[in-house]
């Protein structure tokens, strides 16, 4: 639930950030931009922190019970993708303060590209983590 809510919030915010400011009010991007994107920032920070905490706890179980099975079955690519997920997740966690500042305490002199890029990086990390986690979870029927 936390991951799905996080996906929704960051995806909405990213699309709104990338959408043209001149989008027609009734268009797809126009409707996205009509909702203040900054209002998602607090939710993204809290949900990301909770997701990382839960993921970090489940990771102990993964390392002991799941990863040896994946190694035994030779799913090296899946393990590589999962390693990237943990690296990206850590970098994303450390970016949260800067991300929050850019959205909630923006400076007039600060280029909007900074927060757009930060939001895009976080969106990439979150989607990567979601998809990789599902693949690692489902590849051998774990959790079923």
């Amino acid at each position: 639930m936390v991951a799905v809510a996080l996906l929704g919030a960051i995806t909405h915010q990213t699309l709104a950030a990338w959408g043209s400011a001149g989008a027609r009010p009734g268009s797809f991007f126009g409707r996205f931009r009509s909702i203040p994107s900054a209002s998602f920032a607090n939710a993204v920070v809290v949900l990301y922190a909770i997701s990382t905490l839960l993921g970090g706890t489940l990771y102990l179980y993964f390392r002991v019970d799941v990863r040896p099975e994946l190694e035994h079955a030779g799913h090296w690519h899946a393990l590589g993708f999962f390693d990237l997920k943990e690296h990206f997740a850590a970098i994303g966690l450390a970016l949260l303060p800067a991300y929050w500042v850019c959205w909630r305490r923006p400076l007039a002199s600060e280029p909007v590209q900074t927060r757009t890029a930060l939001t895009s990086i976080l969106a990439f990390i979150i989607w990567w983590g979601f998809l990789t986690g599902h693949v690692a979870n489902n590849i051998m029927g774990f959790g079923s």
Partner: protein
């Protein structure tokens, strides 16, 4: 807004520095501590399974370094962030704000490079 200026400097410095230090910790295997989940123990520093068990029995004591790498990077980034927060505002104005996303993006690419061995197996 005045009180948020030091926090802004801290946040930007912390995010960028963490990304760099995490890649260094990953490349050099510099974990602040190592977790052995099956044994329920945490040892300070980097310890490989072969250090605590016979190599043939290493699978019984899988080691986890991710928490330790993140802690190493967080500790270093915290110090840099606090130093940045204490700087006078004028000195930070000349720093390009784009570093806060460019450095992590480059660090993520470095992580991909360091993970490539998995894809050659």
């Amino acid at each position: 807004m005045t009180s948020s200026a030091p926090f802004r400097r801290f946040a930007f410095a912390f995010g960028a520095t963490f990304a760099v230090l995490y890649v260094i910790a990953l490349a050099k295997d510099l974990a602040l501590f190592t977790v052995f989940p099956s044994l329920g123990i945490v040892l300070a520093g980097t310890h490989h399974s072969r250090d605590v068990a016979d190599p043939a029995m290493g699978f019984l004591a899988p080691a986890m370094y991710w928490y330790g790498w993140a802690a190493t990077a967080a500790l270093g980034a915290l110090m840099v962030g606090l130093a940045a927060a204490s700087l006078p505002g004028r000195s930070a104005q000349s720093v390009w704000s784009g570093w806060v996303w460019l450095i992590p993006a480059l660090s993520m690419i470095a992580c991909v490079y360091l993970t490539l061995p998995w894809f050659r197996l």
